[in-house]
């Protein structure tokens, strides 16, 4: 095995937005039809064929399975048991975004069964269809329709079976509340009765129309979180809580700095630690022992020396470093151009240029990366908190040189991720140790490991040149993002002369996805810049945006946020008001912020946030509200004070005592205004509500103090006195 990927950040190719990669792994369906019923008991199983275009994002072609058994593009399947229990399967994972609930609602709604009778099996590579991962706000737009189609196909199957039994036309049979009724004769049959004694599996081309939002009965309701009782009693087992008999605790010896190579290794003393298993494989050095204390003791007894080769920059110089080390050529995919920016800038009435800097930040999910690995002969099972169970299966197969068909990855409902749990680092470490120990091994990263050896939301530099005409309309927009990414780089404002460009820079620190990706950075730069333009033209910032905006959905959220907030607000001393908006991944957001500045201490307090959000038809308003308010609060951290500091290849603030995250006293009054568009198919909501928070706050600080802050975080040490 090569060293774990976490040890070689500088060797990775530039990959600021992991999930934009589209290469699919080889696909295996391990659950044959026979085994399927063995597992779930008799009943009716439906495998729905998703349309190619809709499946493309989430599924890959199947291999190693007879095509007559299963069609090729399955994204979901479900089973109706003899007791009427409905089990629906999909490869998405629950990481706090509440999709176990919203997906079950969707199935119940379309199948016409009570919500309580639906069980979701998720994120298990042996039981669920292939899925690329839970990210990009894609569960609701892609998995919801597929589950609806499979449920709709199952309902049709049940209707046909009943119609046959009654010798009536299927069109006359009604389905409701897990029951079929023939209104003419009053006969009824439960789904359970129809499933009894059957082992009927059907592959259905699910082309039927699914129930549109106005017809929803279970979806669209604020149902409480599934398994809520397990979470408040401590009964739910996250990956770090698993402890099978005979399990050992694994610990990995981390290098002193990024890029360090093992130069001297001597484990003779460590081998004397009773019960400890030591593994050295390349630069990977780790120990497993019956207790965590003993595993740490074994590691401490290993004598090592490292040859260090740290990145040649630090968090203090990172912005000039990124600018100076950009790849000379940009990718066409990352460039958008129309008109002539240069000519328009040269002749403009008002011109404004600015540079924005974005710090590295960490996801800091409260459940750190963790995995439990268990071998049974050549077969490996790994439990891990991951957003990509199938991706982690591939990583395990690659690093351990075993076939994917020998690997099963199971994701217990996980203590959050925010884009930070795409890689299989802990899984690989646990599996490597378990192979040597011939016992199950659990690896749980410490908070310091999590802050150091995971990956970060990349730092970035954004340069904007712009101009407006005498009428306050944009005439030129030239926007360049260095390193942090291209998500949300396009402006929604109408402008005749435009250039947006993403410039990649070789990685300094290991970087990857984060809730909203670079859209948060790009929205911060754009919406701050728009505010500055409005100010320079002496136009109200809301009016300025509306003047330059044709997109009706974006206008609607801006107007909704402004109305609830009471925009414009009369100016008061040391108090400021800001507004910002944007759209990404099919959903629309606008945030208004009120802030107060303590003139003596320079402390900035967020008084109130109002965020209007629209993502089409709402599946679960309660879950959505939790996501929108949660994104606003998480956004506060990156806006105000979160920043990863590093020097000599070391993270210098890898602890919650040094890396400040939002806490109770940072939380303002927050209102989420949810616009329910029943005429628009639902989009995801996990990411976009975070995007307007930082610029709204920055603009409010400007409104209060006339200080324009162009860097994220805005006020890590409070405001400097003007």
């Amino acid at each position: 095995m090569n060293g774990p990927t976490s040890n070689q950040p500088e060797k990775l190719t530039v990959e600021p937005e992991r999930y934009e990669l589209t290469s699919g792994p080889i696909h295996h369906f391990e659950v044959a039809r026979r085994e399927f019923f063995k597992l779930l008991g008799a009943g009716i199983a439906v495998f729905a064929v998703a349309k190619k275009s809709q499946a493309a994002q989430e599924t890959a072609p199947s291999h190693g399975f007879h095509p007559q058994d299963l069609p090729t593009d399955i994204a979901a399947w479900l089973h109706i048991g003899e007791d009427g229990t409905v089990t629906a399967f999909c490869g998405k994972v629950e990481i706090g975004q509440n999709i176990r609930t919203s997906l079950a609602q969707t199935v119940a709604d379309e199948l016409r069964v009570p919500f309580e009778s639906v069980r979701m099996v998720m994120g298990d590579t042996a039981l669920t269809p292939f899925d690329a991962g839970t990210f990009g706000s894609r569960t609701t737009p892609t998995m919801t329709p597929q589950l609806r189609r499979v449920a709709s196909a199952a309902r049709d199957l049940l209707i046909e079976a009943a119609a046959k039994e009654w010798n009536v036309s299927p069109n006359s049979v009604k389905a409701a509340n897990a029951k079929l009724t023939d209104p003419a004769s009053g006969r009824t049959l439960t789904y359970a009765a129809l499933a009894r004694g059957k082992t009927l599996a059907q592959n259905l081309p699910a082309e039927d129309p699914v129930t549109p939002p106005p017809g929803w009965t279970v979806a669209g309701k604020p149902l409480p979180k599934v398994d809520a009782r397990d979470f408040v009693t401590g009964r739910h087992q996250y990956t770090p809580d698993l402890h099978p008999a005979g399990m050992l605790y694994g610990k990995v010896l981390r290098p002193p700095s990024f890029g360090a190579a093992l130069a001297v290794y001597d484990d003779s003393a460590a081998k004397m630690v009773t019960g400890a298993v030591i593994v050295r494989d390349g630069d990977f050095v780790a120990a497993a022992a019956p207790t965590e204390r003993e595993a740490n003791a074994a590691l401490a007894a290993i004598r090592v020396q490292w040859k260090e080769d740290p990145p040649k920059t630090s968090s203090r110089e990172i912005f000039s470093y990124l600018k100076n080390n950009a790849e000379p050529k940009t990718n066409d995919r990352h460039r958008q151009q129309r008109g002539s920016v240069e000519a328009a800038l040269a002749g403009a009435a008002h011109r404004l240029d600015a540079t924005y800097n974005i710090a590295y930040i960490a996801h800091a999910p409260l459940e750190p990366r963790a995995a439990l690995a268990e071998w049974s002969g050549e077969k490996l099972t790994v439990w891990t908190g991951s957003q990509r169970p199938f991706g982690v299966r591939g990583e395990l197969a690659d690093t351990l040189h075993i076939p994917e068909s020998d690997v099963r990855v199971i994701v217990p409902d996980t203590g959050s991720a925010y884009g930070g749990k795409h890689t299989g680092d802990a899984a690989i470490e646990a599996a490597r140790l378990a192979r040597a120990a011939h016992r199950p091994v659990k690896v749980v990263w410490t908070r310091e490991e999590e802050f150091t050896w995971a990956y970060f939301r990349p730092a970035g530099v954004i340069e904007v040149k712009s101009a407006i005409g005498p009428d306050g309309k944009l005439v030129a927009w030239d926007f360049h993002n260095y390193h942090s990414g291209s998500s949300g780089i396009e402006t929604p404002y109408a402008v005749p002369n435009l250039r947006t460009e993403y410039h990649s820079v070789p990685l300094v620190l290991r970087s990857g996805s984060y809730r909203g990706l670079a859209a948060t950075a790009n929205h911060f730069a754009r919406e701050t810049h728009m505010d500055a333009l409005a100010h320079s033209a002496n136009i109200d910032p809301l009016e300025f945006r509306l003047k330059n905006l044709e997109d009706a959905r974006l206008r609607a959220v801006l107007e909704a946020a402004a109305k609830t907030f009471g925009w414009p607000r009369a100016k008061r001393q040391n108090v400021g008001f800001g507004i910002a908006a944007g759209n990404e991944k099919g959903s629309y957001v606008a945030t208004c912020a009120e802030i107060a500045v303590d003139k003596n201490s320079g402390a900035v307090r967020i008084v109130r946030l109002v965020t209007a959000f629209e993502c089409g038809a709402i599946v679960n308003p309660d879950g959505l509200r939790n996501q929108v308010i949660g994104a606003n609060i998480q956004g506060l951290g990156g806006a105000l004070f979160e920043a990863i500091e590093f020097e000599n290849g070391r993270i210098t603030n890898p602890r919650f005592s040094r890396y400040r995250v939002p806490r109770f006293r940072d939380i303002p009054d927050i209102e989420a205004v949810l616009l329910d568009r029943k005429d628009i198919a639902p989009a995801g909501a996990g990411e976009t509500p975070i995007m307007a928070v930082a610029p709204a706050i920055g603009n409010a600080i400007f409104n209060a103090t006339a200080q324009r802050l162009n860097n994220l975080p805005l006020v890590p040490n409070g405001l400097k006195k003007a």
Binding site: R229, V232, T414, V444, F656
Partner: protein, 159 residues
């Protein structure tokens, strides 16, 4: 291996074989298989490991198991009585006061501790008391709401 000692958790006595300096959290989770208290930071900064020791909310990652000997320890597993949830647990469900819920056991135990000393806290007092508990999903407003609800239920029951 030192002599076995005993600790009392949720009204039950358990022999402890782990080293007396081992933080209580590891004894609870690894030796006693009570995994409701979570590891989140190991420096007493996040509150995920909070348990009641002698009725007081404490960060179990910072307390050696030897210091818990002779004092009753209550973990999240010990709040439910005869299948009936503690009012704080019920209030968290009713308010939907969790997302990933990894912080929830620590939040609930801390809130139980707060309501013991202050049966009717203001929102500011709740925020102040829970300042040492991190929720990364941003569910804070609902947690404050849940504590208010629980306070109300407990006062009604006490009447």
């Amino acid at each position: 291996m030192p002599d076995a000692s005993e600790i009392e958790v949720n009204g039950k006595r358990y022999p402890v074989h782990y080293h007396p300096e081992t933080p209580l959290l590891y004894v609870l989770r690894d030796e006693l298989a009570l995994t409701g208290a979570k590891y989140g930071c190991g420096e007493g900064q996040c509150g995920s490991c909070t348990v009641l020791i002698g009725g007081q909310p404490r960060r179990s990652c910072q307390i050696p198991v030897s210091a818990a000997v002779g004092k009753p320890v209550t973990t999240i597993e010990g709040l439910e009585k005869d299948g009936r949830l503690h009012p704080v647990q019920q209030a968290f469900i009713d308010a939907g006061a969790f997302q990933c819920a990894y912080c929830t056991p620590g939040m609930i135990i801390s809130s139980v501790g707060l309501l013991q000393s202050n049966p009717s806290p203001s929102s500011d007092q709740i925020a102040q008391f829970l300042q040492g508990n991190i929720c990364r999903c941003g569910t804070h407003p609902r947690i404050v709401e849940a504590v208010h609800q629980a306070a109300k239920t407990m006062q009604e029951r006490a009447r």
